[in-house]
Every structure is written in C-alpha cells, then in structure tokens.
C-alpha cells in the first residue's frame, strides 16, 4: 500500500512541476483576492475596536477557504482530465482499487498544496502586519479533520464528475457554500458545528489568533470535529462508490 501511495505522491508532484505557470498563477490569484479583501476591510473596518482580531480571522478564514476549494475540486478536476486522457481506466485497473487511489490522490494533493501555500500565508501576514500563532502540532490536529471533511464533499463531486463529466458550474455553488460554512459563528449557532468547515474554522481561529493549544480546546468540540470528519469523509466515499458503480453499469467510466 505504501508503495502505491508513494507512486501516486511522486506522480502528483511531478505533474505539478510540469505545469509551473498554472500553479504560480493560482498562488498569485489567491494572493490578489486576499489583498483586495484586505484593502476593502481596512477601508471599512479601520477604527473598529475588533479590527485587529477580525483581520486575523479573515486571514485564517481565507486560508481555509482556498484549501477547501482545492480540496473539493481537485478530485473532480482530476477525474475530468483523466477521463479525457484515457488514464482513468488505467488507474481503475490497480489491484488496490480506485477508491484507494482516489484517497491517495487527495492526500498527495493535501501534502503538496500545504507545502506550496505556506509561503502565501506568510505573505498574507506580512501584508497585513498581523502575525498569527504557528503551532504546527495543534494546526495539524485541527487542520486534517477540518479539510478532511471537505474532501468528503470532494468525493461526492468526484462521483458526480464520473457520471456527468463536466460539472464546473456545480463548483461555483460549492464555492459560495464554503464561504457560508466558514462565516457562520458557532458561538451564536452551536448547531452549525455539524456542518463541514464551520467548527474547524472556529477552533483553528482560536489557535492561530489567540494561541490556544489543542489540549486547552474543549474536548467535546474536538470529538465533534473528528466525528464530523469521519461522517463527511466516509459518506463522501460511499456516495463516490455508488456513482462509480453507476458509471460502470452505464459503461461511461472512461467517457469524456
């Protein structure tokens, strides 16, 4: 299994390197969007007593949002492009199973995106002059289940892509939904903890803006976060495998 994972990771990394302009321009776009939000917020929010804390929350929320978009769209884009190049069926013919390969693709993507987006976060902090707490262990403990849940949604959209092929418009709807999930304040609406991203964003904010380590976070919230992750991830995988079965039944697995 490890061999298969390392092969997928190596291939994903090589492919990222082979499209340098695509990757660089996506990082620049992320930064420009953030910069515009920052300028807008500074114009409106300057003088507000919560200005500083809100700005830090914007950095965290924006960073999480870009990751979330990459998380749900990567697998679907991958499926769309692999269908058109004819490699999807070859991946399907791996003895470890396509679901496993798909999981390895999203983990590889998570690792590569994390490494490459870190400089952008530093650039965001440099631009705003607000330095967030970087506690790697707590960040990993919170970040993995938060984004992991979104990968569950990524599996659902990946399944839809297997059957319906072109689903870019669906991504736009999800993009707005992700903003909504991040913006809902859990202190005001505790029931929103069951949504993807919402609780994770709240806990990451506590850690990055106030420096609260994972062992000082409410245990109940951590449990909900991990349950939430498992629920969305497994449900996503299940729905993905149903779509995959349907695509095989209809004989459209390799169509594009």
């Amino acid at each position: 299994m490890l061999r298969v994972f390392l092969s997928v990771l190596k291939k994903e990394w090589t492919t990222t390197r082979r499209y340098p302009m695509n990757f660089i321009s996506s990082l620049i776009t992320i930064y420009i969007i953030f910069f515009l939000i920052f300028i807008g917020y500074r114009t409106i929010g300057m003088g507000n007593p919560d200005y500083s804390e809100n700005l830090e929350s914007i950095i965290v929320g924006f960073f999480l949002w870009t990751f979330a978009i990459a998380a749900y769209s990567r697998l679907s884009w991958g499926i769309m492009s692999e269908s058109s190049t004819g490699t999807l069926e070859q991946l399907y013919m791996s003895p470890v199973g396509f679901n496993t390969i798909a999981i390895f693709i999203v983990i590889s993507d998570f690792i590569i995106s994390s490494l490459l987006e870190i400089p952008v976060v530093f650039l965001m902090m440099l631009t705003t002059g607000r330095w967030l707490h970087i506690d790697l262990i707590t960040l990993l403990i919170l970040f993995i289940p938060t984004i992991g849940g979104v990968y569950g949604i990524g599996f659902i959209s990946g399944g839809i892509a297997l059957v319906y092929k072109r689903i870019q418009s669906f991504f736009q709807i999800l993009q707005f939904l992700m903003v909504l999930f991040i913006m809902i304040p859990v202190e005001k609406y505790p029931a929103a903890k069951i949504l993807p991203l919402t609780l994770g964003n709240h806990l990451i904010k506590l850690n990055m803006t106030r420096g609260v380590p994972f062992y000082k976070l409410p245990l109940q919230d951590l449990l909900i976060l991990y349950l939430n992750f498992l629920l969305y991830f497994l449900a996503g995988l299940f729905i993905f495998s149903r779509f995959e079965f349907y695509a095989r039944k209809k004989g459209i697995l390799g169509h594009y």
Binding site: K11, T15, E89, Q90, M93, F245, R248, L253
Partner: protein, 283 residues
Amino acid sequence: MKKGEIVGILGPNGAGKTTTIKSILGLLIPDGGSIYIADRRVRPKDRWIYRYIAAVLEGNRNVYWRLTVRENLEFFAGIQGIDPQRARKRADYLMEKFHLIKRENDQVRLLSRGFQQRVAVAVAFIRETPVLFLDEPTLGLDVESSLNLRKTLKELVTQENKTVLLSSHDMKVVEEVCERVIILKNGKIIANDSISNLKDLFKTIAYRVEYENSLSPDLQNQLKGRFLNVIFNRRSFIVEFREPNELYDLMDLLKVHDVVIKSLKSMEPDFERVYIELVKGGS
C-alpha cells in the same frame, strides 16, 4: 482462452469488441452472463482480477503525456504494487524491447504517435500480469511503425508466455500475431477458429497466370465459358477451378493459342477476404 494462447477478436464497428473487453476488465458491468478468470468467477466489486489482467485501450491514450516514458512506466508499476527496484529493472528491459531507451527522459507529449503507442503497450507489460488485453494497439500507425510494434509484441508475448486477447481492425496484426480468431457481429460470435481453418472455409483452387503476348478476345471468351471464374488484368489473369484437374485443360488451351506463359502461381485465400465473407454471411 487457454494459458499462453493469443486470441484475436474481430468484428465490424459496434459488434461488441470493446464492450466485451471492458466487461472482462470490470470497467463495464454486463447485463448478463458470467466471467471467469483463472477459473474463478468475477464479481463486479472484485479487485484481484487486476493481478491477472492488464490492458491497452484505445491506442496511444492511457499514458500521462506530461510524464516521461520512464516516469509513466514506473508509475504504473507502482500502482500495481511492484517494488521500485524491480520496476526500474523491468522498465529498462521494456524500453530496450520497445526501442524507447533513447527517449526514456522525454515527456510522452513530445513523442511521435508510433512512440506513444509503444509506451502505452509497454505500460500494459510493466504490470507483470499473465493476461493482456490489447484493444487496437496499432491504431493510426504507419506501415513501418505497425510492423515494428507487431514484431516486438509477438516476441515478448511468446517469451513471457502471456495470454493475449487482441482486438484490431488491422488484419495483418491479427494474422501475424494471433493463433485463434473470434469474429463478433451484433454481439454474437459468428466464427471461432484458427486462422488457417477459417481460410480453408473459403479455399478455392485459383491460379494467377502471367503471360508475355496478348490474349485474343476469342480465347478470353473460351476461358470465361470453361472455368468457374476468370478475372483479366494487364498481361495476367486469375482463374478459379471447380476441380484441380482443370489446370491441365487450361494449359492445353493456352498452348493451342500459342500463349507464352511467364509465371503460374497458386493463390491462397486472403484473410481480409475471409473476414469480409464471414461478416457478410454471419447472422
């Protein structure tokens, strides 16, 4: 299919060749029937079959165009679970066999179609499965590239004792590589036999005669009236007999008319013609 057998699957467009291959590969769930691999029944969720079978589908697709030849080979060996060192050695061996060694570090997108196709076939071989499905492996190749690929394929398949199911519209590939042929029409098998047996079905006693002087219209009429079928060309004709003995009658007739014979060749039925006749006649 028996172990080590090379079977060709032929049929007109829409006959069901690719559907059959994809059903066996588990890429398509068939409406009915059952599939057995290594005497085990295959169910739609089974993954073990991919330890037994690998495939090249649709010619030069199936490989990553942004990866190099070596990267492609090692990646597909990796997702098969093959140890990296072993994969490297096998990649070296296959690149040598498919004459890809000089292009090993070139991205596939920069290669010609012939080379891309070789990479796609080599990718199927690197998975080290005993059974290979090759769907149109020579599709779109020029005569020379097709000939080279056929030679390498035949050599490797024999050397590694692979069981192969090959689908192609190129009769030469099928005739050269396959021991047995299955012909499909409208989803049904209309012929399943060795190429030589299929050829025998359409065997005629035919000769091609080349001559030096010309044939008079009278002689041409006599030939047409006497034998089963005569096709005239410039300075040659093809004659089909009902009985082998009619060759003596032909010789006598040509001698009487002072025809100088340059050559006389017995004609074998062409496999392409056999295929067309079978498809035309099959229900």
